[in-house]
Symmetry: C2
Subunit: 651 residues, 2 copies
């Protein structure tokens, strides 16, 4: 079947593309890529390079129909794959009705990601939850938005205050709040709302910095129905959490891949996309859609009307926050790395097109600099390290690794480009920490033992699994301190392929996709660079304030692989400093936790702003020490073995 639809510029052909195993037939215009076609059908295909044809992650298999093969495509596929009909989805354009199979390796399974990794029961330090208002005797108010039921005295000739001033007076009486802001359109029909409800109304008050704002006036008593959304806007994933603003209870959490991935995997490639002729709009739209879908799905499940959600708080890195708010991100990328803003006004939901109550408040966690964002401020808030007199460090592992060091008196931070390896990216068989990912590995007596997320057949290796393999290979002396396979070791799992040497973790027969799951020497080289960047950043940061690692009381580990990371193995490869395992604490998705805390406590939100202002940012990209430390760390565990005394026996 072939439809021809008329367009302004002439006739354009339309085809149907059926993706397997879904079986969904998607109408696609001629010339669109298979990646775009899948996206139009809501099917996510792995893709790390933003459709540039360089990462080779989006391999799909043609079942029916004709496509042109793109030379780029061919160079990233093995002869065997080409023979089997594989193409790169991003390099293949539609010019026929097609049937395409998305192999399991190329598939993103939205619903599982991060849900397990996230610490839903994260315990908040008590001092964060106690709002300053309570101390000042105003105990009623703490969250970003709060409802108040008012029974206004009926007006008389003697008590003839206007409707609006009557509401103001009652709010003043009840909560000692004077002169709240209100927008004109909320006043226009007020007279009738009051009289239809015998002067009994529920007012929703929001906080805009130091001022209160009446954002909603409803007839009757709707006190019990007030909900909020905490958002973690990650470069890779977007997580939304629905919260009851009265009970502070978490009602549900949902995550999805950041749909901006189609424009590039990391923040830099997205900035490039946004600042070329494409503009920022597609990126902004993508993440807004993400959030909208998550929010709607949470509300539907909990039988909550979207208008009952009156507040949202988002935490994201600086670029993600810019793209979310539609702010120009272009100068984040070039020296001296200046973002448009690091603190953001409290906005109306309708200003950012988030589908909650349009008059609801929308706020973003403040950022520190172009490369230390609101996710880190949220993490510091959630960890409580900014309140403690003891010295702590926060390490957040993502494509960028952010590190914060300090206490209640001072905070310093930096960011290093780590690459996607710890998120499973850029590796031959790497994958995100989702279902089927090998997350733990041990080698004993030459046997490999592993377990996968969801306990199913392995589909690839995620960050924590990769760290385990490296550590085990190093402990077993199958790789040398420089990450090269020891030529003298003889093992059937170490094989020479057309891409160089590799170590097979799981044989084709064991795997979900029917392929060997292996780590290559090239992968290991990449991982060493990643771990060296993290370690060097932590070292430079500590040195810059004259701190020795052993003085650090607690190291908080945040980020996607937080819960699975084997600390001892991470120390073996020299990713983490050589401290007693008891000093490390996993805090999971602390970006989300921090956003939720700030959503529920204005005191915490103010504290986050204070934290962001107080943090001193060290720019590593121009720091010669960082380069020296990085080079010194390009060995397992490190060139300077004295830094890892506990590994003395091993090395």
């Amino acid at each position: 079947m072939r439809d021809t639809i008329l367009r302004g510029r002439g006739a354009m052909s339309q085809y149907k593309v059926i993706f397997r195993p879904e079986g969904k037939a998607i109408p696609v215009e001629e010339g669109k890529t298979l990646l775009e076609a899948a996206d139009m059908g809501g099917i996510h295909i792995n893709n790390l390079c933003g459709g540039q044809g360089v990462c080779g992650q989006c391999k799909v298999k043609m079942i029916n129909g004709t496509v042109d093969k793109n030379p780029k495509s061919i160079s990233l596929l093995s002869v065997e794959e080409i023979q089997q009909g594989y193409v790169l989805a991003c390099q293949t354009t539609v010019k026929d009705n097609l049937e395409v199979e998305i192999p399991v390796e190329a598939r993103l399974e939205g619903e599982q990601i991060l849900m397990e990794g996230e610490t839903l029961t994260f315990s908040t330090p008590e001092e964060i939850e106690r709002p300053a208002q309570e101390e000042a005797g105003v105990s009623f108010y703490s969250p970003l938005t709060m409802k108040m039921h008012l029974k206004l005295p009926l007006p008389t000739l003697e008590d003839n205050l206007s409707d609006l001033e009557r509401i103001y007076r009652e709010i003043q009486r009840k909560a000692n709040i004077s002169d709240p802001e209100i927008e004109l359109h909320k006043i226009r029909g007020l007279a009738r709302i009051l009289r239809k409800n015998e002067m009994r109304i529920t007012v929703t008050l929001g906080r805009k910095n130091s001022k209160f704002k009446i954002i909603q006036i409803e007839g009757g008593d709707t006190l019990k129905r007030n909900f909020g959304i905490a958002l973690d806007i990650g470069t890779t994933t977007v997580v939304a959490q629905l919260v009851d603003m009265n009970s502070k209870e978490i009602l549900g959490t949902k995550a999805s891949h950041n749909r901006q991935s189609r424009y590039g995997e990391d923040v830099i490639s997205r900035i490039i996309y946004a600042c070329n002729r494409n503009g920022m709009e597609p990126l902004n739209k993508a993440v807004i859609e993400n959030i909208g879908d998550l929010v709607k799905s949470l509300a539907r499940e909990k039988k909550i009307d979207l208008n009952e959600i009156t507040a949202a708080m988002a935490a994201g890195n600086t670029t993600m926050t810019h793209l979310l708010l539609g702010m120009e991100p272009c100068f984040i990328r070039t020296e001296p790395y200046i973002p448009t803003a690091t603190s953001f006004p409290v906005m109306k939901a309708s200003d950012v097109w988030i589908p909650i109550n349009p008059d609801g408040l929308f706020a973003c966690m403040p950022c520190v600099s172009s490369y230390v964002g609101g996710d880190i401020t949220a993490g510091v808030l959630a960890s409580g390290m900014g309140d403690s007199s003891q010295l702590s460090m926060l390490m957040d592992f993502g494509t960028n690794g952010e590190i914060v060091l300090g206490n209640n008196e001072w905070l310093v931070c930096c960011s290093a480009s780590v690459g996607p390896a710890f998120e499973g990216g850029g590796l031959k068989c790497g994958m995100r920490a989702t279902k089927g990912a090998i997350q733990e590995v041990s080698i004993s007596n030459g046997d490999v033992h592993y377990n996968t997320i969801g306990d199913g057949k392995p589909r690839g290796v995620c960050g924590s699994g990769v760290i385990d393999i490296m550590a085990e290979l190093f402990k077993n002396k199958w790789i040398q301190p420089d990450g090269k396979f020891d030529a003298e070791k003889d093992n059937s799992r170490i094989r020479q392929t057309e891409e160089g040497k590799e170590f097979v973790i799981a044989w084709a027969g064991e795997s979900e996709g029917g392929n060997n799951i292996a780590i290559t020497e090239y992968d290991i080289g990449n991982l060493i660079k990643s771990k060296a960047a993290v370690f060097a950043a932590a070292t430079v940061l500590a040195k810059s304030v004259g701190v020795d690692f052993k003085d650090i009381n607690q190291i908080f580990i945040a980020g996607g692989f937080g819960n699975y990371l084997n600390v001892e193995k991470a120390i073996v490869i020299g990713l983490l400093p050589d401290l007693p395992p008891g000093r490390f604490r996993f805090i999971g998705n602390s970006s989300l936790a921090g956003a939720r805390i700030a959503l529920l406590s204005n005191h915490a939100f103010e504290k986050a702003q204070e934290i962001a202002k107080r943090m001193t940012y060290f720019e590593l990209s121009v720091n010669p020490d960082f380069m020296n430390e990085f080079i010194a760390a390009l060995f397992l565990p490190h060139t300077n073995q004295n830094l890892f005394p506990s590994l003395r026996g091993l090395i």
Copy 2:
């Protein structure tokens, strides 16, 4: 020529109506009234009753074409008029192509009104113009919006504040203003504006109550181009004044009739219209159009771009302010007379659809109650009476008469329904204080002397002229204290007509319209009721606070006829209390002056808010004293002659 146009509900005929002397042919649908037709063509016809067919002001003469005569219409026309082809424009529907002459009496000439009556050079008490900020050492800022030129230091790796925080820091340094508000859409493209202009920008700061708001960021130095609009939204006329926000200079003033008049002449009939099925929208739209046209015309004349107008301040009575802002006015009309609001948030111009800079600020002078509005607050502000230790009274004459009494310690106020007589309404030959209106009359030796506004042939009598005539007739004993013509006096000017007795001020041969200009006994009766309402209100208000008129140091006279009123004659008829003429001061359009002062000085705007809060309102409609005083005042000058000792020789 007859066109048939298709409508949803079937075919509807369209005709052409030509109005003379304009000669404009207006396409009109069948069934529209001539009043509506004229309105569609931008031609204003006098009309006091809102098209109810009861005031008889909209007489027009048929020249060609057929119309049905409406019985209502006939009862308000003389036999002679009917024979000449006169009809009431509001009661005559179109069902043919027509040619209609609008006689000079029925014509509103927009451009002249109020321009002469207004005190453009009104001098502001010095203490109002001195902003509180200056006292506090912050001398730079006073108007509602103000521009600031910033040369931001170029960002470096060491000084890597974000763009927005860089602007905040410079504003803080320069003006000691911290954390100004800003809307998201002003931040979005900021990075590019800064870099395109080498970090040299002009920021427009607005005041929203106690907070500052960045409402505009422009590249380069536009410091000199910042303009504001002061508005007086009267029930009858709308006046706009263009002001240079830097020099405080008035650049121009324009006035037009309030287009809401087509929906009723006074506030009550407009509330009825708005709260019936018609809704408020047509009324809101009418005044917004008024303002828009005035503002555009002022800007065009002064070669100012509308975006360069960044602030507007409006003063109007409570109902006018509600209709301007689109707020439900319905409960203003019924006991206990509760408006939706008496103080109004500072808004964005785009919220109210005023065609200045859409991010410009729009504010309204605060009201006291349903019947003492922002025009009066503005008047009190402009008069300076709220700052004086001496006792003053403000009398504002319009369809409602508002009276304020007090000093810097206390203020009381009330409002009385006066009727349209002092604005020339509801009288046989009454007209507004525009070109051709008889504004001064004296009678000596039986001869009548008068002068007109613009010195042309008389077209009618305006408020000040009417007061003069009454006083002269009374002084010459041609009318008795009860307002009836003295039957024993023989004078050719006193004639018996089918409408009762009347006094001819100007003979047909002298007048513009070729008709006798006369005042009838019925007119005089109406005027006595009007003056009695004013005097009774002033009396009750003074009594309520134990003040005797002679204790009042100064009486400010505000309103349309402010500049022409002959005080001595107004005392003769018992409209004003019997005090030495030197105690009266005309302050013209003090509503406009007050709005301008508040536009230019935030200190004054805050003072106006304090004044509105401080004023105690007395509701006269339920006050038995008022009724007694009103009845006692229904004589010339008053039943109690002791109240008017200076008239002893006359009475």
